[in-house]
Subunit: 153 residues, 4 copies
């Protein structure tokens, strides 16, 4: 399926996304980088790191989910109104293969933008010896939140 | 609904679960403690910590998911055969309220054990000023893996 | 976990739910009955019927989902404003056991009501020889829709 | 993302899938047709029909899920061993737009085949006046069941 393309709702979508990402301490804990930002599509990369692993030395499923959730959340955020903040309502992740590799690439894509509710999908790839392998898929529902003092960006 | 009660399949379920938890570096990164282990039910607690937060200062949804996934995974593990390792096939999380509080309690419960596939549910609570609030629910499917050299415990 | 109790937002919640249910042709196709309506909790029952089965003679997972989705949707609807219609944003179902039995009972319960977004969970039971067995669980997110001409009730 | 291509495990995958589909009474109730069968990919079509609707005249979300679940289930079935039957472990569906249209096309695709557990994704399209619109996506986990007397095909 060809991905749809989207128009951002304001020129500041890129800067605003990068600023919000910079405020996610969890992304620093993951060693994650915001690799690309486009309207409706965000890519996050991170290296394998021992503090993120489960008992077999693979990335913990929850850590894969953390990076994928941010990729999906920011993909949605790029299409939201300037005054909106983004919260995740729910996500579901299927782990297709153990998260082993030198590094990981997480791609979040909007499949249905909305004024209040936005639906995204995420794909996680493990990179090892130059080869990429799909290791997880995510379905994610976001809410645009407006006018709550403690929730901005 | 009353929770079902389960019989462990071997006497070592408690020790084995604690040993595997101790090997999850991700749990150390979360500052998480294995608070209780019973057949088919595991509880994990963790304090709020800045490195786990998203842009609004709440625990990142993925970090909530990480702790809940371990609670569910180990709940299932307590009922698995001695030679089995546990992997998460998929989980889905609904975020009911922002993850704000002094500390968090994650409860994983088996709702359907199986030789190969086990289904669990998880409940995440935020604790603030002595009050508990349900902030997230998880549905989780696990697989018992036997005979793969690189996957044990 | 004890279920929370809820206050309906208007006296007509019961009648309005029954009227909307009566307009769901899919419920007639299922032979389903609205067995009980309470604020935040709705119960639907249906007999086993051959036109609803999959290739092994069990109820098709999608038919179980259809009844559970209505139970969850109407559970949420009982707490929505008078002018709101209800739409399902997403649901996830875990099939715990084959849907075999003489009849089935579907219980939808609100776990987090909201002005726009409501989260419910559903439990499906098969009844056979007087015994009930949990066969499926659902997590479900609903949206209250206001002011769309073609979507009412 | 380009879809992966798969090799069937035996020559009879097509015939076996068609025979099993013919035994799903639920598909007759839906008026559904098995439009195409390929290794790892199955397409089901159905016309809009009043008995499948919810209160607004759209296809009931559960009926969309029923057809999508069969599309995903049979997509997985095409890659399973000859002696295996297929059961759905779980699925999650996101409803992106009301299911309104003259007819509907459901596409199930395997994203990760496995000896025991197979993961699929489904896409549902509404067709109206010659135009197609994506109305729902599904993530689905299947189990290959062998050696249970009452579960075949």
């Amino acid at each position: 399926m060809t991905s749809p393309t989207f128009e951002p709702r304001h020129a500041g979508f890129d800067q605003r996304t990068r600023e919000s990402f910079a405020h996610q301490s969890a992304m620093r804990t993951l060693g994650a980088t915001l690799a690309s930002v486009a309207p409706g599509r965000v890519e996050i990369t991170l290296p394998w790191a021992e503090p993120l692993t489960q008992q077999h030395g693979f990335l913990h499923a929850g850590m894969v989910a953390t990076a994928l959730d941010s990729a999906c959340g920011y993909a949605g955020f790029t299409l939201m109104a300037l005054e909106a903040a983004v919260l995740t309502i729910e996500f579901k992740i299927n782990l297709l293969a153990p998260a082993q590799g030198e590094s990981f690439r997480m791609v979040g894509t909007v499949i249905k933008p909305g004024r209040t509710v936005t639906v995204c999908e995420g794909h996680a790839y493990a990179i090892d010896g130059g080869r990429e392998k799909l290791i997880a898929t995510m379905g994610c529902t976001l809410m645009a939140v407006v006018g709550r003092d403690n929730i901005q960006g």
